[in-house]
């Protein structure tokens, strides 16, 4: 065949194929700059250790939950039970964990198992029961919320301070280590057969099956991973707040989806990166701080969050479209 072609460099390919991710990172940078400027305007100093610690500790549970959400959305599904699962493990951690290394390890493992079990339930109902993910996880969201209330009927409980220090140190931004760990694990995940399968079934389930991808296992596995991530997010949330609340996770169902969308992951599946979702989680956390320093009445906070979300998504779509046309 003819050899008349124009080859792009690997670098150009990377940029063109990762426009949504790069835009998410750009959005993070822009939010960071706006935040620093507003902070300087109010406090007449550059944000320091305290601010970095507080922001990263607040963003971490969302970043973890959004990573799990990303994996399900990549398969073409959605997980609405994220918030309910976080409620459960948040309550379990606050009620049962004691200040001894043995107890911490034990209950951390229990949390992971709870997450895996909840994810397995979602996955089996979706993949074997052939039910819509949105329906299944809406139902399990309510079920998980009910279980959480049973474990911790009123807010309270106590998370051991040493556990808080380990996960979300209130004095230093050690939470960033976990963020780095998520990114590292993601990069490894991308190079495993399971990771490829997740992307493949999100691209085209029939084609993936014809290529020998185990579609059933990949779909169930995605929900299990998402369950584990949600469970860990609930545990980290308990560590930051040093106590438990059986409703504190509820908001995370929608914010995790918002973080994924801001991260440039396609809601149709098959395209996107958890790194973008982590960036999205940080953008949403920074936004709360930006609104605070912009002296927005906290009553109107969610109004402005919504306006920002629409604005950011429209902007990234427009920029992405322009870039695609330009190349």
């Amino acid at each position: 065949m003819s050899a008349v072609t124009r080859r792009r460099s690997p670098w150009t390919h990377f940029v063109v194929q990762n426009v949504p991710l790069l835009l998410a990172l750009f959005l993070l940078l822009a939010s960071l700059i706006v935040y620093v400027v507003l902070f300087y305007g109010n406090e007449h100093r550059i944000p320091g250790n305290f601010e970095a610690t507080s922001i990263s500790n607040n963003a971490l549970p969302l970043a973890i939950a959004a990573t799990g959400q990303t994996i399900v959305i990549l398969t073409g599904g959605i997980d609405l039970s994220v918030g309910g699962m976080m409620d459960i493990t948040n309550s379990v951690t606050a009620v049962h964990m004691h200040d001894s290394p043995g107890s911490m390890v034990l209950w951390s493992l229990v949390v992971i198992l709870i997450g895996a079990a909840g994810g397995l339930l979602n996955g089996l109902l979706v993949a074997i029961g052939r039910l819509q993910p949105i329906l299944v996880t809406l139902a399990t969201l309510s079920i998980f919320q009910g279980i959480a209330i049973k474990i911790l009927p009123t807010p309270g409980g106590q998370v051991p301070p040493s556990f808080t220090n380990l996960l979300t140190n209130p004095n230093r931004p050690t939470a960033l280590i976990y963020v780095a760990l998520i990114i590292l694990l993601w990069l490894i995940f991308r190079r495993t057969s399971f990771g490829i399968s997740i992307f493949a079934i999100g691209n085209d389930r029939q084609a993936a099956r014809a290529n020998g991808v185990n579609v059933l296992w990949a779909r169930v596995g995605a929900f299990i991973l998402a369950g584990i991530m949600s469970a860990l997010a609930g545990m980290f949330l308990a560590a930051t707040t040093t106590g438990g609340d059986a409703t504190t996770g509820d908001a995370f169902t929608l914010t995790s989806i918002a973080a994924v969308v801001l991260g440039g992951v396609s809601l149709f599946g098959g395209r996107g990166s958890a790194i973008g979702s982590v960036a999205g989680a940080f953008v949403l956390t920074l936004l709360i701080n930006i609104l605070f320093f912009a002296n927005i009445n906290p009553l109107y906070q969610s109004f402005y969050e919504g306006v920002f979300l629409i604005g950011a998504v429209v902007l990234t779509v427009l920029i992405g479209r322009y870039l695609r046309r330009a190349t």
Binding site: M1, S2, A3, V4, T5, R7, R8, P10, H13, Q17, I188, R191, T192, S193, I196, F199, A200, N203, D204, Q206, A207, A208, R209, A210, N211, G212, V213, S266, G270, R271
Partner: protein
């Protein structure tokens, strides 16, 4: 590889050489439709075996069953004389059965390299995929197969349909199948790529591979097949050595009726009333094109693929903007800013594309809704559709176009390719279109329906439509068109006056003087 060796051992004293793969007494029903009804078929190593028949004759179903995509309701499949139970395409691959299905099995938002080596990725430390090696391996595969123009780093979604098909073929060939099924591999390929594929097939045949393929283009079949098996109504009706089967006989066997002439004569032109003119039209891949299309005329636009045909059609339909020149409709220069302008009454230009699924029809909706989509205002009062008026118009179209369907409520998805094409044409007729841009509308359409479409095109011309006609089938172009313009590198390089153009003339004009890089 062991498969091929054992097959070529001469000391095997079998009275009849065991077939490489054989299906016997296969039945398969989908819902109420009996797709295969006691079908049998066998192919040997070292032969190219063509399966031919109308759409719905069961060729594709047979291939899908013999390559493990779904099981038969009953019947036996043997690979090298051993009965097998193929539970999945992967299972079949283990028995050295490889397949290029009609529907692409590529993953659009992954790279070419990722697709080529899916589930066979090069691994490094800890079993992790080595992405650098992935690209190098893909490049090596392409180099082996003589593919130079596809970038392994590109996303499949960014490739042309033809290149996607080439990747699909490379993907299957790389698994080194001893038995290789290809369901309509050439339907989206241009001549150049078909040549490439046939070179590849000949090489595989020399290596002893058993190749089974389907095609609707007789020229391709007769040029490469060793044996031909004809399917009709879910059953194999005959198998012939390719040398002993002529096209007319094959068509008779396929359709069950004698086709005296495949190509009907175009009606003679009365008068020369210009309807659509291009004057010095230039634009994307289109160079200074001037022509006049008359009322009732079928004007062919021929030439090798990729010489600007597509762009010319899209420019005339208002999708692409011309950089110079004029489009003149009924003697008045017109500006087409979008397809909406082209469709509008007074212009009446419509484009019927080859990819009817992506560029025209709404598959999950009924035929009637698809037909009346652009004229909803005409069939409704106060924005509410009047079923009676719609039904009358739809019935007229059914009669005029000979659409084969149970009723207007049947979903377009369930129609054959040819009938889908008729629905698309019918839609534009209802919208009072007078200028039809027909772009490769018989691609992937079976012989019987092709004939219907030819009749329809000529009928439209007889009724006064002006038709600009592109097809990848040169025979078709030569027989149907009053005149043929040959495009080369976006410019008109020759004009052939019909009727009775010799297909060889078109090919010659297309190739003559063309410089190969």
């Amino acid at each position: 590889m062991t498969v091929k060796e054992s097959a070529s051992q001469p000391e095997v004293p079998a009275p009849t050489i065991a077939a490489a793969i054989e299906g016997r007494g296969i039945f398969k029903a989908f819902g109420g439709v009996q797709a295969l009804d006691d079908a049998s078929f066998a192919a040997s190593f070292g032969e190219v075996h063509a399966l031919v028949g109308e759409n719905g004759a069961g060729k594709s179903t047979m291939i899908k069953i013999m390559s493990g995509l779904f099981p038969p309701d009953s019947g036996i499949i043997e690979v090298e004389g051993r009965e097998v139970d193929l539970r999945s395409p992967v299972e079949a691959q283990k028995l050295s059965v490889g397949t290029v299905f009609q529907e692409l099995t590529l993953l659009p938002w992954m790279t070419v390299a990722e697709n080529l080596l899916l589930r066979h990725e090069p691994r490094g430390v800890g079993g992790l995929i080595r992405r650098g090696d992935l690209v190098r391996r893909a490049e090596a595969i392409f180099a082996d197969l003589g593919i130079e123009h596809i970038d392994p780093r590109a996303l499949v979604a960014d490739l042309s349909l033809a290149d996607q098909q080439v990747v699909e073929i490379a993907h299957a060939v790389d698994r080194k199948p001893g038995i290789f099924f290809m369901d309509e591999p050439t339907s989206s390929l241009a001549e150049r790529e078909v040549e490439w594929l046939f070179r590849l097939i000949r090489k595989l045949r020399e290596d002893g591979t058993c190749i089974v393929f389907t095609s609707h283009r007789w020229r391709e079949i007769s040029s490469i097949a060793d044996r031909i098996t004809i399917f009709r109504n879910g059953r194999n009706v005959a198998t012939y050595p390719a040398m002993e089967l002529g096209e007319d006989q094959a068509i008779t066997l396929m359709t069950g009726r004698s086709v005296s002439a495949m190509y009907p004569e175009p009606p003679s032109l009365e008068g020369q009333e210009p309807v659509l003119e291009a004057r010095g039209l230039s634009g994307q891949r289109v160079e200074d094109i001037t022509f006049t299309l008359h009322r009732g005329e079928i004007l062919g636009v021929g030439g090798l693929a990729g010489q600007g045909h597509r762009e010319l059609f899209l420019t005339l339909f208002g999708v692409l903007k011309p950089t110079a020149g004029q489009i003149v409709v009924d003697g008045r220069p017109r500006k087409l800013r979008s397809p909406h302008d082209a469709i509008r009454a007074g212009m009446g230009i419509a484009l019927v594309p080859e990819d009817r699924k992506r560029e025209g029809l709404i598959l999950p909706m009924p035929i009637a809704d698809n037909l009346t989509l652009p004229i909803l205002r005409r069939v409704s009062r106060l924005s509410v559709i009047e079923p009676d008026r719609e039904r009358t118009l739809v019935r007229q179209m059914f009669e005029r176009l000979l659409i084969r369907a149970s009723s207007g409520r049947q979903l377009v998805r369930t129609l054959s390719g040819g009938n889908q094409q008729k629905v698309l044409i019918g839609r534009w007729l209802l919208a009072n279109t007078r200028i039809l841009l027909l772009y490769d509308i018989t691609r992937g359409v079976d012989v019987g329906t092709k004939h219907d479409i030819y009749e329809l095109v000529l009928d439209l011309a007889r009724q006064g439509c002006a038709i600009l006609f592109y097809t990848s089938d040169t025979e078709e172009m030569a027989h149907l068109c009053h005149r043929v313009l040959v495009l080369r590198e976006g410019a008109i390089s020759a004009e052939l006056q019909g009727p009775g153009i010799d297909p060889e003339q078109v090919v010659a004009a297309a190739v003559r003087g063309s410089v190969r890089a």
